[in-house]
Symmetry: C2
Subunit: 110 residues, 2 copies
Amino acid sequence: MENDELVQNMLLELRRGTLSIAVLSQLSMEEYGYSLLKALSEKGLEVDQSTLYPLLRRLESQGLLQSDWRVVDDARPRRYYVISAQGKTVLAKLKKEWSAMTETIQKMLS
Amino acid sequence: MENDELVQNMLLELRRGTLSIAVLSQLSMEEYGYSLLKALSEKGLEVDQSTLYPLLRRLESQGLLQSDWRVVDDARPRRYYVISAQGKTVLAKLKKEWSAMTETIQKMLS
DNA sequence: TTGACATACTGTACGATATACAGTAATATA
DNA sequence: TATATTACTGTATATCGTACAGTATGTCAA
């Protein structure tokens, strides 16, 4: 593997899991896939459709999100997602651990 | 999957990749597997042997670490690892991206 | 002196996720 | 009316952290 490809791959591994937290934290307000994609992008988290949509489905199948089809203003139907009660519990735990972990690593890097 | 198991699993995914950074950053000084294990543990990063040893081998096979067997003080031979020139370059890039990423996520969580 | 525990490593298999790739289709706009 | 954007579904793949199994030496207390 080439040097740059190696770095890209390690960054991918670094990102793993963070997207789940990001998505859960954003879905206290209802959003559909595409609007969420744009919202994350605005906050500096560039995500591909092929990453986000499977993630939303997985989080819902795990009971952390709820969704339903809805038609707003005669536009095409959209699947709206929102965090579930279980999702809130899980998010709280993840936040806590995430803070502890980043702090530990930060100390090592500096 | 149960709630707690789910959280554990998500934390596992969150940790992914961070260990690589941690190890690279610690190996500016030579260490062998076991001493590194203890050093990481002292800094708050609990790692299993079955995680660290395969990682060291992988990082070496990727050219980011160098190692050699050595006998010190008549003790049993140990494999000493140290970061390579390529490893230093990669680490610098990873550090930069890691900072940017954690900052982005941190903003979302707060 | 022997049994337990810490030290120090190798090897292989597996599961979960992020991404890639492919496809469908409606809506806006130029 | 052609093209870009919006908005999704479905499946396959590579990678890593971990689990599990195994080998073997050094140390220290009972």
